[in-house]
Symmetry: C2
Subunit: 427 residues, 2 copies
C-alpha cells in the first residue's frame, strides 16, 4: 500500500471534463455510426501534399538539417513571415499586414495550445471569462482547469449578442466584479458546436463593448477562428481582430488542423504586444517550441499554392456532406414537432434542438436508445455550457458531418430520427 499521491489544485480542476466522458462514450459505443466525433474527414487529408512537402524540404541535406534542429519558442521568424502573409490573404489586407510585427505571431501545437497558454497567462482562480452560450466545450474544460468563473452570454443566429454582452458586463460592474473579467471568448466562424458565425455587423460591436468595459483593467477578446476557411456559402467575413486597429484587445487563434491536417498539428496566434512575453515564457516552459519540421511543412504548402488548392477541395467535400446532413434532417425529422436545427454555412456541425422535455445527455433515455438500440452517437448539447450553469438547455445535440461519408450521414440521421421518435412516442 503506497501513501496517497497528492495532486495540485490545477490537476484536480482538470479532472472529469466533458471531453473525457465523450471519448469514453466513443470507445464504449464503437459499433455506432458516430455523428459525435469532431475529427476531420479522413478522405480529405493531404497525403500526397505532405509527402511532397517533406521530400522537398529534406531533399537538400544542409537545409534539411536546419529543419530537424530546434526552432525557437515562437517559431522561426522567416516562417512567421509566411504565416503573416497567409493571414493577410485571409483578411484581404492590401499591404500584406507588413505593419504587424512578427513578434506578435506565435506558432503553436494546433490552436488548442494557444487557447491553453492564453488561459494560463490570464486567469487566477476566480477571474472571469465570458463565453457564448453554447460554446466550444474543450475550452470550457481549459477554463475550469484554470479555475476561471465562466459566464455564458446569450447568442442567437447571428452569434453572441452585443446587448447581452453589455448587460452582463454592466451587471458585473454593479456587483463590483468587473475588475475580475479577463477575457471574452468568441468562436467567430461556424462555431463549434452551433455552426453559427458572428454577423459582420456585430463584430466591431463586440470589440467596442469589450474595450469600453476595460476600465480598471484591460479585457481581452479571444477570437477562435478554427473553422474560418471551411466556408460553403457566401462571402468570408473579416475577423473581429481586423477591427482592432491598435491590436491591443483581440487575440486571434488560427489553425491548420481543420483545413489541412490535424496530424501535423500546426496553429498560430496573433497576440497583443503586451501579452507576447507572458505567452512566450509559458510556452518556453512547456516545450520551447512546437515541432519545427511541421511548421516548415505548412509554410511550404502555403508558399507553393498547394494549401490553397487543398482548401478548395476540402470545402467542396464538406459542402456536399453538409448538404447531405441538412437534406437528411429535412427528410427524417419532417414529422417530428418542435425540432429545429441550424443551417450552418460552414464548419463541421449541425446543431439540433429538440423539444425542451426531450433530454439528450449521457444519462438520458434518448442517448441510451440512440447508442444501444439504433446505434448512432451524437454529442449532448449540454456539454457546450458550463456544468454549473443552472439555465443550461438539456435538449440539444451537436451532429458532426466531418467523419462520415454521405451514406453514413444519411443512415446516421435516419437512425437518430428513429431514436428521437421512439423516445417522443411518435410513429
Amino acid at each position: 500500500m503506497h501513501p496517497v499521491l497528492r495532486l495540485s489544485e490545477h490537476a484536480q480542476r482538470s479532472a472529469d471534463q466533458a471531453i473525457g466522458f465523450l471519448m469514453q462514450q466513443a470507445v464504449e459505443n464503437a459499433d455506432c455510426i458516430s455523428l459525435a466525433a469532431g475529427l476531420v474527414d479522413e478522405q480529405s487529408l493531404p497525403v500526397e501534399a505532405a509527402r511532397e512537402a517533406v521530400a522537398e524540404l529534406l531533399s537538400d541535406v544542409a537545409a534539411g538539417r536546419k529543419i530537424l534542429q530546434y526552432g525557437i519558442t515562437p517559431g522561426p521568424e522567416p516562417l512567421r513571415r509566411v504565416f503573416r502573409s497567409y493571414l493577410a490573404d485571409l483578411e484581404q489586407h492590401p499591404d500584406g499586414l507588413k505593419d504587424l510585427p512578427l513578434s506578435q505571431l506565435m506558432l503553436t501545437t494546433g490552436s488548442q495550445q494557444l487557447l491553453s497558454l492564453v488561459s494560463q497567462a490570464l486567469f487566477n482562480p476566480g477571474d472571469i471569462c465570458l463565453v457564448a452560450a453554447p460554446t466550444y466545450f474543450v475550452f470550457i474544460g481549459v477554463l475550469q482547469a484554470a479555475g476561471a468563473r465562466i459566464i455564458p452570454v446569450h447568442a442567437d443566429d447571428n452569434g453572441m449578442c452585443p446587448e447581452a454582452l453589455e448587460k452582463t458586463l454592466q451587471q458585473l460592474e454593479t456587483e463590483g466584479q468587473l475588475h475580475r473579467v479577463r477575457l471574452v471568448y468568441v468562436v467567430s466562424y461556424f462555431e463549434n458546436p452551433s455552426g453559427i458565425s458572428v454577423s459582420v455587423e456585430r463584430r466591431p460591436k463586440l470589440l467596442e463593448i469589450t474595450q469600453r468595459y476595460s476600465r480598471s483593467n484591460r479585457i481581452l477578446l479571444l477570437e477562435d477562428a478554427a473553422y474560418r476557411e471551411l466556408i460553403y456559402d457566401g462571402e468570408p467575413a473579416p475577423s473581429i481582430w481586423s477591427f482592432d486597429k491598435t491590436r491591443e484587445t483581440v487575440i486571434l487563434a488560427q489553425t491548420f488542423s481543420k483545413s489541412f491536417s490535424p496530424g501535423i498539428r500546426v496553429g498560430f496566434g496573433v497576440l497583443p504586444q503586451q501579452l507576447v512575453k507572458a505567452v512566450s515564457d509559458l510556452k518556453g516552459n512547456e516545450d520551447f517550441g512546437s515541432a519545427h519540421l511541421n511548421q516548415h511543412i505548412v509554410a511550404r504548402v502555403l508558399k507553393n499554392g498547394v494549401y490553397a488548392r487543398h482548401v478548395e477541395t476540402v470545402r467542396n467535400s464538406y459542402r456536399q456532406k453538409r448538404d447531405a446532413m441538412l437534406a437528411a434532417a429535412e427528410r427524417e425529422f419532417a414529422d417530428v414537432p418542435g425540432v429545429s436545427w441550424v443551417r450552418a454555412s460552414g464548419g463541421m456541425y449541425v446543431w439540433m434542438k429538440l423539444p425542451d422535455h426531450v433530454e439528450t445527455g449521457f444519462s438520458s433515455e434518448l442517448f441510451r436508445r440512440a447508442t444501444q438500440v439504433d446505434k448512432v452517437m451524437y454529442v449532448p448539447g449540454e456539454l457546450a455550457y458550463p456544468m454549473d450553469w443552472p439555465q443550461r438547455p438539456r435538449c440539444e445535440m451537436r451532429l458532426s458531418f466531418g467523419v462520415q461519408s454521405v451514406e453514413g450521414i444519411e443512415e446516421g440521421i435516419r437512425r437518430l430520427a428513429r431514436a428521437v421518435k421512439a423516445v417522443m412516442g411518435i410513429g
Copy 2:
C-alpha cells in the same frame, strides 16, 4: 493609452527566467564562438532517415490519411507499444517489458512537455521539489513558474548524494515540512549541466530514500534520462526507474530530441499508474495529443533499425568532440591554477570550475571579457542553481561540445582560456 493588462500569478512567476537571459545573450553575442548553445550537432541530424521514413509512411494513401488525422492525447496504442519495446531494449529487459501497461506510457512534445505536465500535476505554490546542485536550469524555471520551493541537494562526481538527500528530508521532517515534498528531480545520465551520471550503486538508494520518506504523502522521483543514449565510454547503467519494482514512485522521461532530432520533437514518459489520469487530463487541455505524424516517424525508425544505426553514428561524432574539448582544456588551462572540470562520459557538456573568486555570471568581468574581447560564449554555472539560493557557486561554467566542430571547440577553448587568464591576471 490602454488600461493595464493583468497577468496571472503563474505567468508572473514564469517571467525573467535564466533561459530568457541566455537566449538574449546569444542574440547579442552572435559573433562569438558559442560553447553555450545546447543545440545538437547539426551535422548529425538524420535528414535522409527522416525523409525516407515520411516517404514510406505516406506512400500508401489510406495508411497516410490515418497518420495525418488526430491521434489521441497519450499517443496511439500501437505506437506506444513500439516505444515500450524500445525502452525494454534500453533496459535490457528480457521479456520486452510486456508487463508494463501501455496506459502508463505517454508520448509528448519532447520530454520538456512531460516535465512541464508533471510539475503542473504535482505542485501547488509552496510545495517542495528537491533537485541536485547543480541541475537542469530550464527545469528550475518550470518549477519557479509552478511556485514550487526548490531545495538543492549536494551532488558529487557520482551524482546526487543519498546521504545528502536523506539529511535534507530529515531536516524537512523536523521542520514539519515533509508533507509539502512532492518530487525529487534527478537527471540520471550525463546531467545537463554537470555531465555527471548517478552511479549504479546510488540509483536504488535514491529510490529507497524517496520511498521511505513517503509518509504522509507519496514523494515521486522524476528521472530525466534525456542524455541516456549519448554514452561514449563504459557500459550503460540501468535506469533508476528499473529498480522501482511496483512502478509507483519513478516517473521516467525519455526523448528523441538529442539522439535523433529536436525538430521532430518527440519524447515520452513512463508514469506511475495513479499519475496517468492527471497528466493526461492536463495534456488534453494543452493540445489533446502531440503531432501524430512525428510519433509515426520515430516509431518507424525505431522499428526498421535506422534509429539504432543513427545513434551509433551520433555517439561516434560526439565522442570525438568530447575528446577534443577535454584535450583542448588540458592544453589551454594547464597553466591556470585552481581550474578543474568533469571528464564527462557522455552527454553534451563539460562542467568547469574556476577558483572561487573568479565569477562567471552575465555581469561578471569574465563574461564581459569573453564575449566582448575574446569572442567566446559559455553558460554561467550559477544559472543551474535556484536564483534565491545563497550558497550557489558563482565560479562555474557549462561548456557545450554539441554545436561546434572540432576546430570550433579547440578555438573556443583557446579563447576562453585567454579570457580566464586575462581576468586572473595570468600571462
